[in-house]
Subunit: 506 residues, 2 copies
């Protein structure tokens, strides 16, 4: 039997979710694999999303007093080793530079030469190298707090990679701060998590759960790791951002000391926090459908494409003039921090043109033909609605209302995502139901499990690791906003005071 409904992306989400994800990226031209193992090429349509994320975050960071700086790509091995848990956490995925030139080898090809005395690690994260600077910058309590952010590439060698979600090199920001008191550092850790929540929910339209990681999921060397967790359309969890309270661990490792107001020498309290191009993977998996990418307007690579419809050659000048004048007017309008971005696509390729833009996820498609022009109107399609559900709007009304329409789309996508997350997040209090939720017997697609289970956990490493082993399910976070209630652990029955979020994860 043939499928009745045709979709632009093959396979659909239901048919093969991982493959659907790759196809959405390919058809939307966001990124591609590179010949360098594990590294991706971020193409212009994808990089524009990252630029928008950067602008939004950078402004929010700066409003809280954070300043940007830049630190070396390479970290001497001895620096990474300063914090024992830290190096342990990253040793298995380090790109190591051992030579500093090439020379002719025995068979005339080039081979590495000029061996370094000490290997250099391509930064997987920069606590140790930034800590070294902080140790020079800080000597008195008057030098604190130090509030620094870096936009950079980092490398964590991955054997199995996925565009945006898991690549050996990725782009991110890493914030690093040093404070005179523990409380101030904890306030900063939470403040930055709140900024990530705001980015995710208000810009990316991705609803998130805020909470803290269990000890086993903490950043290597951290005292406390806070995170935002999102639900993808296959109901798996994606860690979308983390903010770490590092206590004095890294200050001790890097010797970040200051003289207090009471003239006592003390170690500083530090934090670090980051989000990465992984967010783009989360964006794709939250909103896109079986016709391809869907971009929330506030973070979209571009807002609107104008599609002149020219059936007769003689109409061309008139249609193009109308189109270009509309584009010019739209481009002068602001939407959020930036001006409206407008594309014109006058390729003569028939229906494929409209589908190209649907697959690229642009929020608005505007068709402009002689009939529309005669009526001084435009024919508008919204990416959050069915592809053939288009509306004729008077030209000037469209110009006047475009930002309102974009806001509606933004709101719509967010509400849709909230609903999906709500429908697939369930409080479960019996062990049988818990197991069934994650390993349903009668489900066609076993890789699509139930979603988020809010269940009680006794707090033991043992239960956590048994659940992970038995069900491939991890504790995504201990949410901040769960009410305190006395129950039993879902796995061992021992007393528990808190529900946590259990899920399969990316």
């Amino acid at each position: 039997m043939k499928k009745q409904v045709k979709n632009a992306i093959n396979p659909t989400r239901a048919e093969d979710y991982p493959e659907w994800y790759q196809e959405v990226i390919r058809h939307s031209d966001l990124a591609e694999r590179s010949p360098t193992r594990g590294c991706m090429v971020i193409k212009p349509w994808g990089y524009a999303i990252w630029e928008n994320i950067k602008q939004v975050l950078d402004n929010m960071f700066k409003e809280t007093g954070v300043k940007n700086a830049y630190f070396p790509l390479f970290i001497p091995l001895s620096f990474l080793e300063k914090e024992a848990e830290h190096v342990e956490g990253f040793a298995k995925e380090c790109a190591v530079v051992t030579h500093h030139r090439l020379e002719k080898g025995p068979d005339d090809g080039l081979v590495p030469a000029g061996r370094l005395n000490e290997p250099l690690i391509v930064r997987p994260t920069s606590e140790t190298i930034i800590g070294d600077s902080f140790s020079r910058w800080v000597s008195s309590y008057r030098d604190l707090p130090v509030l620094i952010n870096q936009w950079a590439n980092v490398v964590r060698w991955e054997m199995r990679t996925r565009l945006f979600l898991r690549t050996s090199e990725f782009l991110w920001q890493e914030g690093h701060t040093a404070h005179a008191t523990r409380d101030e550092a904890i306030v900063r850790t939470k403040m930055m998590l709140d900024i990530y929540e705001k980015l995710a929910e208000e810009y990316l339209a991705i609803p998130v759960i805020k909470g803290r990681k269990t000890a086993s999921e903490r950043f290597p060397g951290a005292v406390d790791t806070m995170c935002i967790e999102a639900m993808m359309q296959d109901r798996k969890a994606l860690q979308a951002g983390t903010s770490h309270f590092l206590g004095r661990n890294f200050a001790k490792a890097s010797n970040i000391k200051f003289q207090s107001a009471e003239e006592k020498e003390e170690y500083a309290w530090t934090t670090s926090w980051g989000v990465s191009t992984r967010l783009i993977g989360g964006l794709i998996m939250t909103h896109s459908d079986d016709d391809g990418l869907i971009l929330p307007p506030r973070i979209a690579s571009s807002h609107v494409v104008l599609l002149p419809v020219i059936r007769k050659l003689k109409d061309r000048p008139m249609v193009m003039e109308f189109t270009e004048s509309l584009a010019k007017e739209l481009k002068e309008k602001f939407y959020g921090l930036r001006r409206l971005e407008v594309e014109i696509d006058d390729r003569d390729i028939g229906g494929a043109r409209g589908w190209d833009w649907i697959k690229k996820g642009i929020p608005l498609r505007v068709e402009i033909g002689p009939r529309d022009i005669a009526e001084n109107s435009v024919f508008v399609g919204r990416r959050d609605q069915k592809h053939n559900n288009k509306t004729s709007l008077e030209r000037n009304q469209f110009v006047a209302e475009i930002t309102t329409i974009l806001n509606e789309i933004q709101k719509n996508l967010f509400e849709r995502a909230i609903l999906f997350k709500k429908e697939n997040t369930i409080k479960i209090d019996n062990t049988g139901g818990f197991k069934e939720f994650f390993t349903p017997e009668n489900r066609e697609k076993p890789e699509i499990h139930g979603g988020f289970a809010l269940s009680h956990w006794c707090g033991s490493d043992e239960c956590e690791s048994r659940i992970k082993e038995d069900l491939s399910v991890t504790i995504r976070c201990i949410p901040f906003d769960m009410e305190n209630e006395k129950r039993e652990c879902i796995y061992c029955g021992r007393p528990s005071t808190n529900r946590v979020v259990f899920a399969r994860a990316y």
Copy 2:
């Protein structure tokens, strides 16, 4: 004998220019050396300059249709080897990744493990890896031109480094384009050079000479390298930006082919062009004086610092209120693309405070004390004028005129630099004078030579390399705007039709 005049920077330019340069950077807090050999830490005051340069350039690029993208940090060795001259040019300065993890070594320390089958080169430039993407992106003339830019870090291993001017890792942008015709590629090469000239002259206030490199100074693999060259205050030349016409060399190496409108298969014509954080070194050495950094307002980290003068504690609330209200009003004003950036420094450290800001090169210093407030005025010092040459201005007049004052400073710095360059650029037509110009016998400081010599060159590699050997002087460029005249080569006496720029260089 003691020096009569005291300066904030010790030594002065005349006393020890290279050391003066380091001290200017140290006192202005632009950057510092890192424990990673050859790499620098760009501190917030320095990074802000780079952010401003990025914003200006990025806008200019995008206006010409260029889009940003991101390509892998690592280039497989076999890719770099695809263009013979290219790999030859970079082989001596490559950071090579050979392993992808760390494991416990014999003496319990960590050692590199997981040897890669093929070494990876940390990109010194990205022609070969970007060319690989272009070969996939281009199949028809309709896919051309491809206009791509990348903001990235690159690594060229340096044995002797200098902050900003020569570091093993630096930040830059690299543009890469592919075209259907030779002419179009050459037009693009020149267009980007014009953008670099505009950045240098209109924003950095650095006058430059535009021209092309001789064959020996070309980018490895290029057909033609165009450049902008600037004169530093020690009269040495600094290459401030390059734009390369690559012919079809890299298209052939990377297999970038397209089907033409006539249905013939052809190789594309490519270009590449870049500027780097080196520009910040040029900025420092063009404008700064013996009191430290001087920043042109259009690119300055910040525009104005407000310095509340509080002698009696009871005055503090009134002075701070006046200061903060002024700051608020100033911050709402635009200067160029961005809002005015305003600092408030209320540290109680006496005269050192004003000097700190002089050394940091901020364009305007504004003192605000009870007497000024009583007269509703402020006391303004300009960094392009003597430090004690301050003017009282009515508060609202200052607010109204601040952007005009900043423009005056910008113009002033540029004119000063133009004059300096003019005074130290001389047409020389006799060999004795040429030698004397570069190796003056009676000069106290032999490292400060004459400047730029505009002299004739026969075009032979031989003369070029003899001059380089004898005088450590290179041909910086063959300027575009030199009149065609028939004379003799300054070194061999053979016929020559063009003057070129000879200088010592960074």
